[in-house]
């Protein structure tokens, strides 16, 4: 796109080569351990090669798609909302994006179902499908609301230019405090829910939103102020889930 003089074929080859380079460490590690340490042959070489080909193609499409679609989209919306000048709609968008990207996240659905089973075993809720389903749904809505609040606070921070470290330190103090107060069964689930909220599609969108906002607002630096939304989104679910565990 940048240098039109370069032929399309050369561009495609370059992009594929870059993906191959990104993947090379995994292939090397697996090959070395399989052949030299475990001293076993690779059972199905054909399907291995096909799989690697698919991964390389997929990674190439993903990175090209980021630059064509997700980055301009996130930045465009950040710019549009910043110039519309309505704080309410900007914060509503941040909350909606956080909530919407999290509530249907497959990893979260899996963790929530698992957590409901643990809770029923531990006698925290009534056993039975209906009670477990209600618990799992409640947990999912809790985590989604937590990510929504995280993006809302994170966007407010970008607007006001608050230094990130105080908010993060405050957040971790909250996690430590809640760990002491919350029932032991919920703590492991809570820590895990912080890690599952940031999916591969959410991360580029949210990063583009933050950097786009910090670029659009005068006096903000895209590097200093634009990052940090992801950090908030992995922090708040831990606190929210432990609160949920105390209330239920």
């Amino acid at each position: 796109m940048i240098r039109r003089s370069r032929s399309l074929a050369a561009q495609v080859a370059g992009a594929l080569l870059q993906s191959l380079r990104d993947l090379a460490p995994i292939v090397v590690v697996i090959a070395v351990f399989q052949l030299l340490v475990l001293r076993e042959p690779i059972a199905d070489l054909a399907s291995l090669l096909i799989g690697i080909g698919m991964v390389v193609l997929g990674l190439t499409l993903f990175v090209q798609g980021l630059n064509l679609g997700l980055f301009p989209l996130g930045e465009g919306m950040a710019w549009g909302l910043a110039h519309q000048g309505s704080l309410f709609w900007l914060l509503a968008f941040a909350f909606g994006l956080g909530f919407g990207t999290t509530v249907a996240e497959p990893a979260l659905i899996a963790v929530a179902d698992e957590a409901a089973a643990v809770a029923a075993d531990g006698g925290m809720i009534a056993t039975g499908a209906a009670a477990q389903e209600a618990y799992a749904l409640g947990l999912r809505l809790t985590v989604a609301a937590a990510v929504g609040v995280a993006l809302l606070v994170g966007v407010l921070r970008i607007l006001r230019g608050w230094p990130i470290q105080y908010l993060i330190i405050g957040g971790y103090a909250g996690v430590v405090l809640m760990t002491a107060l919350a029932p032991a069964e919920i703590v492991g689930i809570a820590y895990d829910s912080g890690g599952v909220t940031t999916s591969t599609i959410t991360v580029p969108l949210v990063t583009a939103l933050g950097v786009g906002l910090a670029t659009s607002i005068e006096g903000r630096n895209p590097l200093v102020d634009g990052f940090g939304l992801i950090a908030f989104a992995s922090l708040t679910p831990m606190i929210f889930v432990m609160v949920y565990g105390m209330l239920i």
Binding site: I52, V55, G100, I169, I230
Partner: protein, 268 residues
């Protein structure tokens, strides 16, 4: 409204599974664009094409990992942690209380797989591209990714050591956060937000399945370990250590730059 899988055939068509994940995001984006901004997108065709490429790319990526690398990686984690293999490598220390020194290959594998999967992690690639542009090229995409990958590698190694020795998780995590706080006080201010972000992006599509398999293999082959709890522990390590390594990378770069400036001054 919150049906688990709107797609009936997502086991057959991987793109369907990705679509489940994306529909609510699309609803929020389109809703705000149409109702609040009330302005057509600048380049709707290009953006739609890009969105489609991201979806298709992720579907291929996941399907490829599932056919080729995950089964082999999972099998490897189980074989490396099996008592027979560890016993053979360490000279007969099995059953009862294992000697942590017998697990040399496991630590090496933990480091290598943590490093290698992080280099291929798509969300980290996205963040590195953005960081490179936001810093006007000062932060190199490769430099950042290698720093994060080293952090994940060290973190997973320490996590494996913890499972073998059975020491409590919270001591490691609390010590880690104290260390991060100290580093935050001394690190160059512009890097801090990015460093915290890199802790959150590492535990994603590629790293989690392989690392979880390693944790599961380790904790089920050593007596008195709980597979569920110890599998979680590794992920916690993988999100903590990249913060340290990225802050450390920034501190090192700043030190080198300062040293060079001072050298220039005294040299001339």
């Amino acid at each position: 409204m919150f049906a688990d899988t709107p797609c009936a055939i997502d086991t057959l068509v991987p793109i369907c599974a990705t679509l489940d994940d994306v529909l609510p995001i699309l609803a929020v984006l389109v809703g705000f664009q149409a109702l609040v901004l009330r302005r057509p997108l600048a380049n709707p065709r290009r953006i739609l094409l890009g969105f489609g490429m991201v979806l298709l790319g992720l579907a291929f990526f996941m399907q490829g990992l599932e056919t080729a690398l995950f089964p082999l990686g999972r099998l490897m984690a189980v074989q490396l942690t099996a008592p027979e293999f560890v016993g053979a490598a360490g000279g007969g220390a099995v059953a009862g209380a294992p000697d942590w020194r017998a697990y040399g290959w496991v630590y090496l594998f933990a480091f290598a797989i943590g490093f290698a999967t992080t280099i291929a992690e798509p969300s980290l690639i996205a963040v590195a591209i953005k960081a490179n542009r936001a810093s006007a090229g000062t932060i190199g995409t490769t430099g950042l990714r290698v720093a994060v990958a080293l952090g994940v590698g060290v973190g997973i190694t320490l996590g494996a050591f913890r499972i073998v020795t059975g020491t409590p998780l919270h001591w490691y995590i609390i010590t880690g956060y104290v260390f991060v706080l100290l580093q935050t006080a001394f690190a160059p201010k512009p890097i801090i937000a990015l460093a915290y972000d890199s802790g959150g992006v590492t535990t994603s599509t590629v790293t989690v399945p392989l690392v979880a398999a390693l944790g599961l293999g380790l904790s089920s082959s050593i007596p008195d370990r709980n597979p569920l709890l110890d599998g979680f522990g590794l992920i916690a390590f993988a999100s903590l250590f990249p913060i340290m390594s990225v802050l450390g990378y920034a501190q090192l770069t700043a030190l080198v730059a300062r040293g060079r400036r001072e050298q220039d001054r005294t040299g001339n």
